[in-house]
Amino acid sequence: MINFIITNMSLVHINIFLAFTVSLVGLLMYRSHLISSLLCLEGIILSLFVIATIVVLNTHFTLASIIPIILLVFAACEAALGLSLLVIVSNTYGVDHVQNLNLLQC
């Protein structure tokens, strides 16, 4: 599989793909602060935006050039939501340590 990637992709593709993967791993594996997870979420959205723009521009798929813009809009909403959740957590506990979010256990 790795041979397949290296023979058929250029360096740019690898770069973008790796940015996405690193941000994904950063979203799923973090120490204790919720905000680092939100940051990585922004990273994911950024890399997705770049991938979408490059693909649309390279293939001259003009009709789909609205997609990155809409992606940005939704990213803004989602970032706002994430930040509001962060603010609520921070209001209750003072810090945003994720180990505090354990009320839903049985």
């Binding site: 599989m1 994904l24 791993v25 979203l27 799923l28 594996m29 973090y30 997870s37 994720v98 180990q99 979010l101 354990n102 009320l103 839903l104 256990q105 049985c106």
Partner: protein, 606 residues
């Protein structure tokens, strides 16, 4: 037409006069106790005449007076059976009671309710007389219950004392358990022989008498403090000493044995019940003798001695010798009552001290009491030709030469030896050595009431055995020939017990104090029997009945079976199965691992 029945009825009815005088209020004056004592002595002398007529001619009488009621086919009437047993027991009981009444004139002198005390004692005597002269089971039951009630009232005489109240209640409860057996026997006799008259029962001679005789054995176990229903007798020592002397040594506790003796025609034919009786008596006599070895209260030692002698009487019934058992009842009354009276004299002289560890050196200070105590103990252990010898030695000889259970025989012999041991213990602790009581003493035995009453019983303890056994007519033939070692068995084990006890007691002057061993604790705490049986079964019974009565219907059937059980089950299983712990990092991590794994798998399967 002779005066037999008239004199006997006169003697018995004279006893009821002081009770009826309470209607006329003559019982409020201070000479009432003297009246009671005098009346009992007159009744005794009056009853001697019918007894001597009976011994001379051998006639038995049944006085059937008053037809009370007829219930369908059962005729109940007031009938007195004056046969061998009642004719000899009545004078003995009256004699002993006369002495005890005179003794309690001295002992209870400072008691403000002394007239009530004498009335209670007299009522007890009347009910005991009803018991022994009863010809039908109903009248016997009246006397039976009567002695139980009077025992309750007399044990709890000093009712301000908690221990006395619990002891009185204990006596009633244990007697009640025995009464269940009595009533079962009465019911069986009613169903199968259609009567409660002893004559008819013996004439019909029913075949399968296991059930009623078991009932009567249970009744005797309850009333005569055999093993299993025995703790009430040592606890009954909470009552005043005259009560212990009268009830719990001579008269009431022999009621159970008397009942079994009355039914000896039925018991002769039933080997099973005889074996049961034998084993029960053997275990009682040994167990209570062991318990008597380490008690520290003088009255409790004598109470256990009574219990052991009662076991011996039951053993005698078990080897099919009712007449010997009856002889032992009569002779035992003399020296046991005297032993209690001597201990009462000691207790009062030492200012109400009952612990033998605080007595001593009374050999020189109270010579008369010492004499009677030693003679009483010798009579108890069966010293040749004193009173106890005539009954006890005969019992041991007959047991040795009869075809009987060897274990029961061995137990009886060991208990005989232990009798000598604890008697020596009493003598050693109370009489010998240096005084261990306080220096300011009130030792005074110079009261004529005390001296005369003990003197009468003393003469009785020495001569009564000889006198009675020479004058009764032969009933069962005692074993005449036996090897010399069997003849001397009782004497040998008694002397062995005496020497052993004396040696051990003298050694204790030189011992250092040791902690009590397990065997000592077993003996001192009465074999742990009261400790276990007074707490565990009532607790188990009451908690089980409470749970079944209150909790069973409401909380179990209505609440717990469906609703609460479903909810509990659901909660438990959901906790068990679910893995939600609120750990977000783990969820993310598992998501990542799943993703990675799936990508690897997806791409590596070529």
């Amino acid at each position: 037409m002779n005066m037999f029945s008239s004199l006997m009825l006169a003697s018995l009815s004279v006893l009821t006069l002081p009770i009826m005088s309470s209607i006329l209020n003559t019982h409020k004056n201070s000479t009432y106790p003297h009246h009671v004592k005098n009346i009992i002595s007159y009744a005794f002398i009056t009853s001697l005449v019918p007894t001597m007529m009976f011994i001379h001619s051998g006639q038995e009488t049944i006085i059937s007076n008053w037809h009370w009621m007829t219930i369908q086919t059962l005729k109940l009437s007031l009938s007195f059976k004056l046969d061998y047993f009642s004719m000899i027991f009545v004078p003995v009981a009256l004699f002993v009671t006369w002495s005890i009444m005179e003794f309690s004139l001295w002992y209870m002198h400072s008691d403000p309710y002394i007239t009530r005390f004498f009335k209670y004692l007299l009522t007890f005597l009347i009910t005991m007389m009803i018991l022994v002269t009863a010809n039908n089971l109903f009248q016997l039951f009246i006397g039976w219950e009567g002695v139980g009630i009077m025992s309750f009232l007399l044990i709890g005489w000093w009712y301000g004392r908690t221990d006395a109240n619990t002891a009185a209640l204990q006596a009633i409860l244990y007697n009640r358990i025995g009464d269940i057996g009595f009533i079962m026997a009465m019911a069986w006799f009613l169903f199968n022989t259609n009567t409660w008259d002893l004559q008819q029962i013996f004439m019909l001679d029913p075949n399968l008498t296991n059930l009623p005789l078991l009932g009567l054995l249970l009744a005797a176990t309850g009333k005569s403090a055999q093993f299993g229903l025995h703790p009430w007798l040592p606890s009954a020592m909470e009552g005043p000493t005259p009560v212990s002397a009268l009830l719990h040594s001579s008269t009431m506790v022999v009621a159970g044995v008397f009942l079994l003796i009355r039914f000896h025609p039925l018991m002769e034919n039933n080997k099973t019940i005889q074996s049961l009786t034998l084993c029960l008596g053997a275990i009682t006599t040994l167990f209570t003798a062991i318990c008597a070895l380490t008690q520290n209260d003088i009255k409790k030692i004598i109470a256990f001695s009574t219990s052991s002698q009662l076991g011996l009487m039951i053993v005698t019934i078990g080897i099919n010798q009712p007449y010997l058992a009856f002889l032992h009842i009569c002779t035992h009354a003399f020296f046991k009552a005297m032993l209690f009276m001597c201990s009462g004299s000691i207790i009062h002289s030492l200012n109400d001290e009952q612990d033998i560890r605080k007595m001593g050196g009374l050999f020189n200070a109270m010579p008369f009491t010492t004499t009677s105590l030693i003679i009483g103990s010798l009579a108890l252990t069966g010293m040749p030709f004193l009173t106890g010898f005539y009954s006890k030695d005969l019992i041991i000889e007959t047991a040795n030469t009869s075809y009987t259970n060897a274990w029961a025989l061995l137990m009886t012999l060991i208990a005989t030896s232990l009798t000598a041991v604890y008697s020596t213990r009493i003598i050693f602790f109370a009489l010998l050595g240096q005084p261990r009581f306080l220096p300011l003493t009130t030792i005074n035995e110079n009261n004529p009431f005390l001296i005369n009453s003990i003197k009468r019983l003393l003469i009785g303890s020495i001569f009564a055995g000889f006198f009675i056994s020479n004058n009764i007519y032969p009933t069962t033939i005692p074993e005449m020939t036996m090897p010399i070692y069997m003849k001397l068995t009782a004497l040998t084990v008694t002397i062995l017990g005496f020497t052993l006890a004396l040696e051990l007691s003298l050694i204790t002057h030189n011992l250092k104090l040791e902690h009590p061993t397990n065997m000592f604790k077993f003996s001192n705490l009465l074999g742990y029997y009261p400790t276990i049986m007074h707490r565990l079964p009532p607790l188990a019974n009451l908690s089980m009945s409470q749970k079944s009565a209150s909790l069973l219907l409401d909380s179990i059937w209505l609440e717990n079976i469906l609703p609460k059980s479903i909810s509990q089950f659901q909660m438990k299983t959901s906790i068990l199965i679910s893995t939600q712990k609120g750990q977000i990092k783990l969820y993310f991590l598992s998501f990542l691992i799943t993703l990675t794994l799936s990508m690897l798998l997806f791409n590596l399967h070529e």
